[in-house]
Symmetry: C2
Subunit: 340 residues, 2 copies
DNA sequence: TTGTAAGCGTTATCAC
DNA sequence: GTGATAACGCTTACAA
């Protein structure tokens, strides 16, 4: 036994247990048609030997690898890390491993690249991060190939077996409501990049809060960013040039909110006394800048954990996993009533 | 041809090319003993068919998977992401994929866990991140199992085929020299966590700069942190309570430097007028806080890229890859001459 | 230089 | 219930 590699194989188990390979295989795969005696006996031999099925051989025979892919095209490091953490928590102790696959959503060959990747590696399933998760062709591709998938997003993108989403729109409405409660009326918006669903949802939440409060703002109070710090600085520069200028700004993510803060500081505008700011994501930077940033916390780790469970669940368990997650406002030091 | 899965196999290629499987295999594996005619012919059939060898079957036959593992136990998300980026850049277009494997270096079963992981998955190679990269037993384990490895670190941890390192010590000396040039004499140090090689190297660099300038400081000017923002705040609180207090503080990473800044602000100490601060890493937060943080930039993406190339290089190429990388001081707004 | 046969360690088929 | 036997798609002897 235990040739070359040093690890016991199914043959060793079969020989020692005095049964056939197939019977061992049945034990491993929890086949129902097996006498309890044989099962028990084989299980004893397995644990005695410390036998673990060889993933490569299984992958070949099953035409399916026990790998979960994370497909993303994402600018935000912290978000990707959180997703990885969540997935890995769910995968811990299972036979699954995590393979990371960044892609370029702008590339003309993107779909083909993903197809090749999935077909060759025979992934068990993939988690799709925004913004690529918003690509319906990609989801269809996974489906066609027979690769399970779960899409993460800011709104309902798919049926509950194939998606986990947060309620960005409502969460932003709550954040802006909070500004309004504090007495703000001139509220600026730093938008996310065009084409991102999250940007759309957050904008919608912003506008719903304003219209519910019967506040009408000129279009100039909306500046577009692209989720980077620098774009936040530039957007804030435009907003703060306005006369009268906004007394509060909601930025569609923390990076841009940090940029707004930066721009305010360069002009000698005190935050929160002269300007209130709210961000979105609650990345570490939010708590670490000065003043600490009031922001919307997105339960991204839980969402990723849930996504991985949906992927690896067999059959009915899946139904148990939630698909909608609630974001909440974290109140810190960057909001105060307006001065005037 | 192309049964079940829809993808062409080596048999399809062999049949269509009118040669044996083995000949096709030779073409795939670049065997030198092959007539140019046959090679050319088979290559044509391969590309005509769009044939790509099945990784699962290769893995089984070769007893080796074309997967590169990233093993880490790291608190810093940005660092892990940068490493992933570097590795993935090197792996792009190759047959290799990246598998991420976080571990708990404190766990009693850590070595066994890693062993099981490597033995079962038959990884081609692994990149070890600090601080686990400093564990010699882990390196030995990889070696024993026959899994290639490259360790990333703050100093020479291994021979050049198995390591990429940065010159943390020198880089910190240069940073502290800069503070001294500006006129600072009372310089505080926020240390990294005990047991981290990087913390040790950075401390050494700090002390070398001081002793070269004939500056002697009380031990109270050194406060220990653990690389988190909060530990930076606490360490700074101790340092800023001192009488006379330091006019400058070097923190062993940016997170803690941000914490120092935070603590200073809470006390109404102006940075850089009343206190200069230098960090280490040049993570995004460094440029995004106010004032922008002067810090040491560590070429981590290049290092990771190089690590992956060392792993996947066959034979001699490896020698070409550098093992030592230089960190450089990035001067921003958090340093000024002392007031007195 | 090329081909044949025998693995690699599993699962699927189909008898018994 | 259980076990031969043939896949799965590739590589490594060993021949030719």
């Amino acid at each position: 036994m235990m040739r070359k590699t040093g690890l016991p194989t199914i043959n060793d188990v079969a020989r020692i247990a005095g049964v056939s390979k197939k019977t061992v295989s049945r034990v491993i795969n929890r086949s129902p048609l097996l006498s309890d005696d044989t099962r028990k006996h084989v299980e004893d031999v397995i644990s005695g030997l410390g036998y673990v099925p060889n993933p490569q051989a299984r992958a070949l025979a099953l035409r399916r690898n026990f790998l979960i892919g994370l497909i993303h095209d994402n600018p935000n490091a912290q978000m990707v890390m959180n997703v990885q953490q969540g997935i890995l928590e769910s995968l811990h102790g299972t036979e699954f491993e995590l393979v990371v696959r960044p892609i370029d959503r702008g590339s003309a060959t993107m779909l083909d690249d993903v197809r090749n990747f999935l077909e060759r590696q025979r992934l068990f399933g993939v988690v799709l991060l925004p913004p690529v998760s918003e690509n319906d062709q990609l989801a269809k591709l996974c489906n066609d190939i027979g690769c399970r998938y779960v899409r993460m997003g800011s709104a309902e993108l798919d049926d509950s077996a194939h998606m986990v989403a947060s309620n960005d729109c409502e969460a932003v409405t709550a954040a802006v409501d909070y500004l309004i409660e504090q007495g703000h009326r001139r509220i600026g918006l730093v938008l996310g990049p065009h084409g991102f669903r999250s940007a759309r949802e957050r904008r919608q939440g912003f506008e719903q809060a304003l219209s519910a409060a019967k506040i009408t703002l000129p279009r100039s109070m909306i500046a577009e960013g692209n989720y980077t710090f620098e774009s936040g600085v530039m957007a804030a520069d435009r907003l703060l040039d306005l006369m009268p200028r906004p007394s509060a700004i909601f930025a569609c993510n923390d990076e841009m909110a940090a940029g707004v803060l930066h721009a305010a500081r360069q002009r000698g505008i005190d935050v929160p006394r002269d300007l209130s700011i709210i961000g979105f994501d609650d990345t570490p930077i939010a708590a670490h800048i000065w003043p600490p940033l009031t922001t919307v916390r997105w339960p991204i780790i839980s969402m990723a954990r849930s996504a991985a469970l949906k992927l690896t669940a067999d059959g009915d368990e899946m139904v148990e996993e939630p698909s909608m997650f609630r974001s909440t406002l974290i109140r810190r030091g960057s909001v105060a009533p307006p001065r005037d």
